[in-house]
Symmetry: D2
């Protein structure tokens, strides 16, 4: 008997649901029409004062049982959905968002090397350019293993103003020379938009570091450069913030962006940072941009480089970044995480195993 009553009541709810559905869609059509008028008038779609008035009217009319708070919360959701309907078109225009499973950005380097085409690329080299000899030794080792993108870092963002800040333009020259000698491309970190003209002379692939991930002036500036840009996730950036930073570049005109995950800051002390491999998987779902895993900074220790390289590959990432130095203990930075050349070779053996292809 009470089951019958429940069925009866449920039928009433079903009817109300459909009535509300019609009202919601009718409402959305009107909002959309207002939106078009506002666009023509150059007025912002979001009008909090109007929202405030509507909420007040509802509050005054409300007789319960829903509390005013609940009614306002539900209508705020409805307002948000209406705004979102307009934004979904904007969002459909959000450049870095993946639209379909096939949607992928492939970045083509001048020699035909591609990043994001399903291949697994390696970016490698010393933490910082220290001398021609050092770069030459590393460069030869990289080239021998088919690496095409060489780190040529000449400006080092450092915590302290008294730490080694990089060789500057001299370092860029050395990197260019070595890259040319071995047929590789120079990847180098840019720290301020004023450096762009100089970088155009030496650098093939611009790199925006973790500390500058939300430096919007720099992002917009590299968005106007016709070279690929590698964008590093901030120390404590959410994935959403990371994608929005990429959008700053993309919306300024440069679609050739490679994301790099470098570990986030957590309480754990046995690794320098915590590699967010789940985040890599999520980024492959949410964005069509290629993504590379930095196995050096995320771990801060070389003894787990091999498993992390396998992990990077397994995650669906488009490549990895690893630091290599002829003599890590005497390196001017990141001594504990840079691989020796034999360690680098062992790593390449590991990820180039044919069964992983």
């Amino acid at each position: 008997m009470s089951e019958d009553r429940v069925q009866e009541l449920r039928a009433q709810i079903d009817k109300i649901n459909l009535e509300m559905l019609d009202l919601l869609n009718a409402r959305a059509r009107i909002v959309s029409e207002i939106g078009k008028i506002h666009t023509q008038m150059g007025v912002s779609h979001y009008d909090p004062q109007r929202e405030g008035q509507m909420l007040q009217a509802l509050e005054m009319a409300n007789r319960g049982p829903f509390s005013n708070e609940t009614i306002k919360a539900l209508f705020r959701e409805i307002f948000r959905a209406s705004l979102a309907l307009e934004e979904s078109q904007a969002r459909a225009k959000m450049r870095v968002q993946r639209k379909s499973p096939e949607d992928r950005t492939e970045i083509a380097l001048p020699d035909g090397t591609r990043v994001g085409d399903g291949s697994f690329q390696v970016i490698a080299g010393a933490c910082a350019v220290e001398s021609f000899e050092q770069m030459d030794e590393v460069g030869a080792a990289l080239a021998a293993r088919g690496v095409k993108m060489m780190r040529g870092m000449a400006y080092k963002p450092r915590t302290s103003p008294y730490e080694f800040q990089g060789l500057g333009e001299e370092g860029l020259k050395i990197a260019r020379q070595v890259a040319d000698k071995y047929g590789m491309f120079v990847v180098s970190e840019i720290m301020d938009q004023s450096q762009i003209p100089m970088f155009m002379d030496y650098v093939d692939i611009f790199w925006v570091g973790a500390r500058n991930m939300q430096n919007s002036f720099l992002l917009k500036a590299v968005g106007k450069v016709n070279r690929p840009v590698i964008l590093k996730r901030g120390l404590s950036a959410t994935l959403e913030e990371f994608l929005y930073s990429a959008e700053y570049i993309a919306s300024s005109g440069n679609p050739n962006i490679i994301l790099i995950e470098r570990g986030i800051r957590t309480f754990e002390k046995w690794t320098r940072n915590t590699l967010d491999i789940g985040g890599v998987a999520v980024l492959k779902v949410e964005s069509h941009l290629p993504i590379v895993v930095d196995i050096s900074h995320s771990a801060g220790r070389r003894d787990i480089a091999k498993p992390l390289a396998r992990v990077a590959r397994a995650s669906g990432a488009d490549g990895l970044m690893v630091e290599v130095h002829p003599n890590p203990p005497v390196a001017m930075s990141d001594a504990k995480q840079q691989l020796t050349i034999p360690e680098f070779n062992a790593l390449m053996d590991e990820i180039q195993r044919p069964e992983l292809a």
Copy 2:
């Protein structure tokens, strides 16, 4: 002209809003009636399969412009609001939730000392009971400053099984003896429900530590004891989880709960933990339970004990907890954060300044 059109469209929206308001409340009344029937039948109110069917029906009926995803999201909000309407009555029954600004739990100790009545109480003592002499020396100092609640920790939760685990029942006896000598109450950490009978013999105020904040068997067990319980926030517990843990105790029958904030785990290294003083302020808004600030574990260093004590007082907390040891460098645990007796006296001078009353 387009302004006129906007006004016209807005009037249509206002009308739709009110129609939806009526439908929402009508719907809520029906849901409520079903809820009552289900309660009589002993059936859970939450019926995900029924929800699935309603969403499917809406999806089939939807002609846009809202996408199916948006429609489903909005209706899920409506379903949630209806459930919440029922829960708000439940929530009104959530025991630790503050109902009004005047709502406060005051905990009365046998000698008339009250926690949560607007006074600022101090809980103090050594990190662990080590000997009668140590406890006696500290006890005399505490009593001289009017402290009523003395730490008498005899079971220490330690990271390693090889670290000092406390003196056990022998330690409880010492604590009881010293507390009796100076007219204080023993506060002591309980680690397993099997200890309750023994604790009833020695301990006035039970303490549930950070590592056990979500040990629901222990929470329910101390919820059946007629002594006050101090509940410490977990290392990485959200405020919501913290309140739900208190609710485990309260819903088992014991309303005399004191919350203690002890710092959360973050990346910062210059303090042992990060004291979440904003969280203290939020808990005073959300709950009527007294809350105490642990200025020892949150900092892990004694040189900022004074400012933290002032901060605790200013935050609206009901007291603070501080560790005091006759000779901190030789303490068996927490050597770096325990205050010497002269430091403790200076701290009491600071917080007992009459202008802060």
Copy 3:
């Protein structure tokens, strides 16, 4: 000329270095002898008061240029090294620490299935036992894919006391019945040491959850049980704390421990937790215990289950844990992360690709 002087000075330093080396080792031998005497006398090796006296003597004798602070810091290091020399023998006795690359714990189940032998095992099943039908449907699917360890969770640790807490012993019975029907083993979470006798009747592999990772009474109790124990990393536990918790079990007599990494709590919101895959790689270096990756709780979303499964395998872990439910949207817990049975089958296809073997 100044280069010559530098060479001369460096020669002096080399000589001093060797003299200090001799003194350090002589000192260590004496400390070791004292240690032996203290062991015979049953006295603790660590004597902070003696250390205090030595530091004071050095301070009084110090004429610089090293400051007293530096001298004290250096000698504290020397004291620590001497203690560590003794502890290294203790450490060599720390049961969960890996002693050599070949050192691995293999856990043998009654039917010959092994965990930790280089194979990649799957632990799977519903988040919670809800009914015989649900368990039977999942159980059949698991058995069809060769899964040997089935989740049979009957006690659910929940944030709120008002959430579904599991079916209790009734749930254990169902799990046992289904496991027996399909020739699998029951894995089930124990929440309090008082449950051990009951669990012995139904459960093959004990599971200690994240909230109880530092419940030392429970750890010691399961350390006395002759069944394998799965130990889950706490929400915010460091790797060091995780291993020490395992040591509580091991040092109580039970060497059959499987570690499970389930993601740590961070600021990121697009995943429920942050899977610490670098931590998995580090644990394989530091410990000989098998480790399994929980790809359900770490992500909290099923759309990245496949890449995370590949990642788990690539990391060197000994297996993965995944939640599977016949109808996730109506599950009583964790609806968003449980896989459907077809999704589970696709996942198994992915990780059983022969080229990964």
Copy 4:
């Protein structure tokens, strides 16, 4: 008897300690002399290759019982102490480090207002300049309560390129006009060094935001400006990194720096960020710079503004920063945390209570 033997052995250790003390200091003197020569030669003091050779020599000479690892670790400490001895002079030169308890930076504004002199200053105003009317209304309210430093934010660092980015130079003009009308100073965020000339025309106090805390080019550039700079802690910056960022400014020539703590990123969701009040207390110990507490961004909710203001004052901070808007719900950013003008007045009443002076 064995006690006698222990006494005897301890006497031997005391003797060795003093011999090592002499050797350590002798060594330090020689290192210091080499350091001076290297400074003259323009060579870096840190020579990892030389260290490598010394460690190798020690390793070859070591006969135990200390392991080679321990010996190398101890000598690395000794090397570090020697370097540190030189750095301590450098460190004594680290400009933002507090040298003595009396050491404090006081920042004098043109009208005689001082920050860091023991007074408690308030920086207030709207999150962003939106219009003259809005700024005028807020400005009048601030001036009426004696506020001297007004937010005049015209460039907003936003997560998304599609969010409101500020009014730009037009906004700076409005801020200048309003500040002049009410006799206040304009505080405004600079985002790129290219903006400096424009900012010199409108802005009294430069503000470097959290996202730019490690933008070393910008830090060095504002270090050359003769106006005070407010430096905000990064979302996830350690206190050490924060001070080093201030050192970038100070070492470029500008000593007039105000630090601002704005909450750090944690897992907690009931507040926008976690106010690190312990960090404020530590910064007062470690640095002589004034520090201000941002009670708006750290909480993200206005209902705890009052307790946080009291907390800021109690912590020993030199002031607070609070956002105030004539109509928060319609603000173009940070609607949930800005105070209304009446709320702002109530807050000022709270912190200006005479007994807190």
